[in-house]
Amino acid sequence: MSGKSNRTLWIALVLVVIAVILVLALTGVFTKGGGERVKIGVVVPLTGPVAVYGEGVRDGALLAIDEINEAGGVNGIKLVPVVEDNKADGAETSNVMNKLITRDGVAAIIGPVISATANVAGPIAVRERIPMITPTGTAIEVTLAGEYVSRTCFLDSYQGSVMAKFCREELKAEKAAVIFDVANDYSIGLKDVFAEKFTEYGGEVVEIVSYTGGDSDFNAQLTRIKAANPDVIYLPAYYSDDVLFLRQARNLGITATFTGADGWDAQELIDGAGELAEGCYFTTHYTPTDPSEGVQNFLANYQEKYGKFPIVLAALGYDAAKMLADAIERAGSADPEQIKDAINSTKDFPGITGMITLDENRNPYKEITIATVKNGQFELVTKLRP
C-alpha cells in the first residue's frame, strides 16, 4: 500500500462521517426538546374537474391544524400536514397514498375528497394500518373497506332519501327524472337511493338517463327527459357538469325544477350558471348563515387566513382535522393503531357541520341541510333528519 492511497482513504472516511452527521442533524435526531411532531397526510385533488373541492378541503384542514398547533398542539405534539394532489384519479390516489405512508411515514390521513378515489385509498389504508378520515366521500362502500377508514360527512343514502322526501312533501312533485354519471360511484349511489325512496314516498320516476363523466354535450339525454315531462329532475353530479346541464336544459326549453346533492355546493355553480341556478335545490352539510359560535369562528378565521369565503367542503375538511386531533388527544399517543381506536369511539364530537357520533360502520349520523340559490346566494331552506 502506498502512503498516497492511504491518505485518500482517510479523507474519504472523514467525508463520510461528516455526511452522516449532517444527515442525522437535518433529520432531527440531535434536536432534543424541539417538541414531538406527527405527520398527517392530506390527499386532495388540486387539479382537474373537482379541484375546487380539493382546495377547499385542504384549506379547511390546514386551518384546523394551524389552530391546533397555535394552541400548543395535541398533548404537546405538533401536527405537520403533508399535502398531496391525487388529481381526482384512482391510479394517482394509489401512488400518493403509498408515498405518504412509506416515504413520509404519516400517522393518519385526511382525504381523499371524492368517493371514487376514497374507494381506492381505503383498502390501502387498511392494508398499511394507517387511519384515514375522508371528509367528503359520501358513498357507502368507502368505510366498508375496514376499521381504519371513517368519515365526517353523511352517507349518500341519507342525502338521496332526504331529497326524495323533500321533493314529494315540500315540492309536491309527482313525476321525477334522474340523470346520473355512470362513471362515478357517488352519482350511481345517489341515483339508486333517490329512485327507490321517491317511489316509496308515492311518486313516479318517469325516466332515468346516464352520461359518462367528461362528456359535455347532454342535449340527447335532456331531449329524452323533456319527452317524459317530469316535475323535478334529480341530478346527483358535480358543479361543472351541473352548469352544463342547466344551460343545455334551458336551451331545450325544459322547465322542471333541478335538484341535486352536495356536489352542487360550490360558488362556481352560481358563477357558471348565473340566473339558471336560481330556484334549484340540493342537500348539503351546513350553511354559513348558521349563527352558532363554531360556524361563525370558522368563517371569520377562514376568511382572515385565505381572504375568501369557504366552500362547504372546507367545513368538512376542518371538521375532519379537528376530529382527528380530538382522537389523538384521547389516544394520548401518535401511534396509528391507538389513533384508529380513538377515532372509532368518537361520540358527540361538536363539529361545525353538526354533532358527530360514529356508528359501527364509522359513519356519522347528523342532520342534513337543504339549500337553494336565491338572488345569486346560497340560502338555507330547511334541515331534515333521514
Partner: protein, 292 residues
C-alpha cells in the same frame, strides 16, 4: 316524433362540429398522406383563442375571426417546423412526429392554461329561434349548422374554382407531376394546413358557445371522433369528411337518446369497424391500386 326531430337537430349540431374538424384531417391526408394527430389540439387552440378574445370584450364576429386566424398560424408553423423537414422521410416518421406535436400542444396547454376546465363566456342569449311544437332549435345550434354549411360551401368553391384550389387538387393527385407543371408544392401544402386549422379553430369557438366548457385536453376525444368521421366518409375526400362528420354526430346522439350513453362510443367506433370491413376506402372512396 318530436323527440326524434329534436334528437336530429342535436345530432346535426354535434355532427357539424365533427365535420369541420374532419375536413382538416382529410385535406392534410389528401395532400401529403399524413394523419395529422395534432389537428384535434388545433381545435382546442381555437376554443381558447375565442375564450380570451370574448373575455377581453371583443364582439363575437371578431373573436370568431381571431379564433380562425391564430390556429391557422399554428398550423402554418407546425407544418413548417415539424412536417416539412420530414417531407421525404418514411411516412411513419411523420406520423410519429404528429403524435409528438399533439402531446406537445396538450401539455403546453396544461402548463400555460392550467388543466382546470373553464366556463366559456356566454355571449349568445339562451333562447330558441325556431320552435315547432316541442322541437327547439337554439340560436347556438342554428349558428353552428349555418356557419358550418357556409364554410363548407366556401371551401368547395375554393377547391374547385380558384387557382390555388386547383393546384391543391393537382398536388393531391400526383405530387411530382404537379411540381413539373410549375406548382409550388410547399406553398400549396402550407395553404392546406392553414385552411384545415382555420376550420378547426372555428369548430372550437362553436363548441365553446354550445357546450360551454373548455379545457386543454378537449381536443383529444373530438379529434379522434373527427378522424373516425373522416375515415368513414373516405379519407382524403372533402365531401366524405362532411358526410362522415354528420353521420357520426347523428349516430352518437340517437344512441344516447334512445339507447344509453354507455353505448355511444361503442357505436361510434363500431361504425368505423363496419365501414372498414365493408368498404375500407370509406363511403365516398374509390378503391385504388397501390402505386408502385
Amino acid at each position: 316524433m318530436s323527440q326524434l326531430l329534436q334528437q336530429l337537430v342535436n345530432g346535426l349540431s354535434l355532427g357539424s362540429i365533427y365535420a369541420l374538424i374532419a375536413l382538416g384531417y382529410t385535406m392534410v391526408y389528401g395532400i401529403i398522406r399524413l394523419i395529422n394527430f395534432a389537428h384535434g389540439d388545433i381545435y382546442m387552440v381555437g376554443a381558447f383563442v375565442g375564450y380570451f378574445a370574448l373575455r377581453g370584450g371583443l364582439p363575437l364576429p371578431f373573436a370568431f375571426f381571431l379564433a380562425m386566424i391564430i390556429p391557422a398560424l399554428f398550423g402554418l408553423v407546425i407544418e413548417f417546423f415539424a412536417y416539412r423537414p420530414l417531407r421525404n422521410a418514411p411516412r411513419i416518421a411523420a406520423l410519429i412526429t404528429a403524435i409528438g406535436v399533439s402531446l406537445f400542444l396538450e401539455n403546453l396547454g396544461i402548463l400555460v392554461l392550467s388543466p382546470d376546465p373553464r366556463p366559456f363566456p356566454q355571449v349568445l342569449p339562451d333562447k330558441s329561434i325556431i320552435s315547432y311544437g316541442d322541437v327547439n332549435v337554439s340560436l347556438t345550434q342554428f349558428l353552428m349548422i349555418v356557419i358550418t354549411l357556409a364554410l363548407m360551401v366556401l371551401l368547395t368553391l375554393f377547391v374547385h374554382y380558384t387557382k390555388t384550389g386547383k393546384a391543391m387538387r393537382a398536388v393531391s393527385q400526383d405530387r411530382e407531376a404537379a411540381q413539373l407543371m410549375g406548382i409550388n408544392i410547399n406553398r400549396i401544402i402550407s395553404v392546406t394546413f392553414v385552411i384545415g386549422s382555420a376550420l378547426a379553430g372555428a369548430a372550437g369557438v362553436l363548441v365553446g358557445l354550445y357546450i360551454p366548457r373548455i379545457e386543454p385536453l378537449m381536443g383529444v376525444m373530438y379529434g379522434l371522433k373527427a378522424f373516425v368521421a373522416a375515415v368513414i366518409g373516405g379519407i382524403g375526400i372533402i365531401p366524405g369528411a362532411m358526410l362522415g362528420g354528420v353521420l357520426m354526430g347523428l349516430a352518437e346522439t340517437l344512441v344516447t337518446g334512445f339507447l344509453a350513453s354507455t353505448w355511444r362510443d361503442a357505436i361510434a367506433f363500431g361504425l368505423l369497424i363496419l365501414i372498414l370491413l365493408i368498404k375500407p376506402s370509406g363511403i365516398f372512396g374509390t378503391s385504388s391500386r397501390t402505386k408502385v
